[in-house]
Amino acid sequence: MNQAINAPRSYSPSRTYVLRTVGFMLFYVLVSVLAIAGLFDSLIGGPGGWVIAVAVAVPVAAQVWATLRLMADSDEFVRVIVTKCFVLAAGTSMVLWTVWGFGEAYAGAPHLDGWLIYPCFWAAYALVSPFVRTSKL
């Protein structure tokens, strides 16, 4: 039997993904905490406030990049599982946010800030991922 089709891989895409995720989330939390602590009070309310808004959004974009890298570096099974989880979580978040948005307009629902869609996405991801166990649709 052929014993070595491919050399053993010491590189773990999942571990790299987790490390990147932790780093990006720490940055997200850091900027948010500093803003809440009042460090950026001189910027808030003016054009400089956009710098803070973009700074918080950068790790979100970076997280999407990390997910794409995970998909590119993983094997075909993991790639499909991650894709399915991402689509289901994004779809769930969009549906919930659409319902709530029109609920605010038509049913007097209390206002929720737009940034909440990101934690909503990850909550949805955590919810759907235990049920995604097959690459088949």
């Binding site: 039997m1 052929n2 089709i5 166990r133 097959t134 088949k136």
Partner: protein, 77 residues
């Protein structure tokens, strides 16, 4: 897709992790193949075929070939 991967792996006395390492995929991928939760790409099927030195159809059932899906008239020889 029905397959003989678990049997072949057992014959080689490999764990799922051993096979995964030889194929360059995750252990989860091997488990998904064995439990028919993942149909391999042609590339992965060829890699498995080469590893066990058997034709692809000796490992994975070809449901589209009459001889493996019990076509009418099979039992009549």
């Amino acid at each position: 897709m029905k397959n003989r991967l678990r049997v072949l792996r057992a014959e080689a006395a490999w764990t799922q992790a051993d096979l995964a390492e030889r194929l360059g995929v995750s252990r989860q991928a091997v488990n998904a193949l064995e439990t028919e939760k993942h149909d391999p790409s042609l590339d992965l099927a060829y890699r498995i075929s080469a590893l066990f030195d058997r034709p692809v159809e000796a490992i994975f059932d070809n449901a589209h070939r009459a001889s493996t899906r019990g076509a009418p008239g099979d039992s009549q020889g």
